[in-house]
Symmetry: C2
């Protein structure tokens, strides 16, 4: 445990790149979320349709939005997700909100970016249980999609490259600016109560900020779950080691964003913490070797709730209908 303070200092120093030198509140290790810039509206609109389209799954029932529900903070609010044939997913679904700030995607970082991530669940037999080839075949059979791809990509072939690029373009717009905390960062001193400000001070002084910093208040590093005390879980995920094969990476997970954390319960890679109070208590103990008092815990929780930003205002897409040629969904093995 003696290495803990040094580690915290090192990590905190590493986070200096995220300070915001010009905010009225002074330089802070958390920076405001900027509103989305839409460069290609046709591609973003197409990506939104694909995000909501369950025809990218074998069953015709599961879409990206099923587990990254944009009505619920970009998550499903379940410990682990429900996949094809009601299979229990191996891990808690991370929020898609502000996911563009993540250094890598998935808890173990096995996808480099949003585009690389987007194809994963489609072909995962425990999630959407389809294949890239079949998903593309379905889309190519739907005249409305063929036209939308043409508008977004010109004469490029409609393939999985374009599908994931469009979904990623949509996901890049899923940012949540204008949280009360960001208003405070920008100089509105009355945006936070005294209790919330004290919570933020505790968050920094206790070392939480060492890993949870930058615009997304996390998402930019991998850290060991259970740095100073072991984390007890029945979830078998090994985290980063599953990708690198290195023993040193065992139980290292991507630090999740704390933006909108009020909405993204339950917490941790195994969804093991049902409430923010529980999550804060556990993190303090196993990552920082610190026991927060009830009052301290409540202050940190109060601060965390100020990170809820303006949720994306999305018009529900109307999906183009299948044609007579479209492969029909196969929800049940024996229909």
């Amino acid at each position: 445990m003696s290495c803990k303070p040094i580690l915290s200092i090192l990590l905190f120093a590493a986070s200096a790149q995220f300070t915001s030198p010009a905010s009225a509140a002074g330089p802070e290790p958390i920076t405001p979320i900027q509103p989305a810039q839409v460069r290609n509206p046709a591609m973003v609109e197409l990506g939104k349709q694909l995000f909501f389209d369950p025809r990218l799954s074998k069953s015709g029932f599961i879409s990206c939005n099923s587990c990254h529900n944009l009505s619920m903070g970009g998550t499903d609010n379940l410990r682990s997700s429900i996949g094809h044939n009601w299979q229990q997913g191996p891990i808690n679904s991370p929020t898609v909100l502000n996911a563009k700030f993540n250094a890598a995607q998935f808890w173990d970082g096995r996808a480099a970016d949003l585009k690389a991530q987007a194809g994963g669940p489609v072909a995962n037999p425990k999630e959407m249980a389809f294949s890239h080839a079949l998903a593309v075949e379905v889309l190519q059979s739907i005249p409305g999609y063929v036209a939308a791809f043409k508008q977004a990509f010109g004469n490029q072939k409609l393939g999985m490259e374009e599908v994931t690029q469009a979904i990623a373009a949509f996901e890049e717009t899923l940012v949540t600016p204008d949280s009360r905390f960001d208003k405070w960062l920008k100089g509105d001193r009355r945006a936070l109560t005294r209790k919330e400000q004290e919570g933020y001070r505790l968050f920094k002084e206790s070392g939480c900020i060492a890993c949870h910093n930058g615009p997304a208040v996390g998402g930019n590093s991998f850290q060991k779950m259970g740095l100073v005390a072991p984390y007890q879980t029945s979830n078998p995920a090994q985290g980063r080691a599953d990708v690198t094969g290195k023993e040193a990476d065992r139980f290292h997970f991507k630090v999740p964003t704390l933006r909108n954390v009020e909405l993204t319960y339950p917490y941790f890679h195994d969804g093991g913490a049902a409430t923010l109070a529980e999550a804060v208590d556990t993190m303090a103990r196993i990552q920082l070797g610190r026991q927060f008092s009830a009052d301290e815990n409540a202050k940190v929780v109060a601060f965390l709730k100020t990170l809820t930003g303006k949720q994306p205002r999305l018009q529900l897409p109307v999906l183009p209908p299948s044609s007579e040629k479209t492969l029909r969904p196969q929800p049940f093995d024996h229909p």
Copy 2:
């Protein structure tokens, strides 16, 4: 089969009440859909949240919108729906679009109206698998819902009565005006092609109009599936007889609306017809004793596609988060 023409004439006469005396196209047995009138916006907005909220299910995964997907014509486009624990539903999910025009709800009409229908799936162990008491307990534990109910209902108690009333108020707004056919009905002669107009003439002259009339082009009567020739299906549903217990009602089902039928595939109570061409062919044979030529079939299908109206423009609701007191979903029996 000899009774068929007489029956058609009788049914056609019965439909005279639906004629529109003042349309520029002359009196027609189909009348235009009127835009939604919102009387209580707070209640409609609350109903929309409830419609999209999977916390009304035991699993926390299934919402009204799962099977009545407003991105897909108010249906799930599956033969029969997927319920709790991936159970196969007994029947094809009817569209929620224009459902307010239905004389009764469900294929067998067992619910008198939208409000009576809305509570059904929540407590059905094959669908959302929850109970009314638990659903109400969940909502009462969510501060955002408590406030929204107060805004919509004043100091009335938050109970299942109010839940279903709000969902019904939202569903009443789910109408689809301004289809090309309605524009034609209102006098825009160029809104339909010659082929589509010929399809409409065939639709009337062949007798389809006898049951599919009124603003929703159906939904206003029960009819026997297989009037002149038996319908072959492995689906065990007995239709209206399951409600009345009368042998005479065996295999009588509510005539479905044909509004937006281009979007609501597959067709029939068992989802047995994958395409409109197949559905039209089967209906002509078993209800009217008539074999449409390929050309006739194509014309009727072309007409039916003109019934696709303007889909509701809905902003995706942002659901109020659960509190620490909220009962957590139970998607898996063994978590």
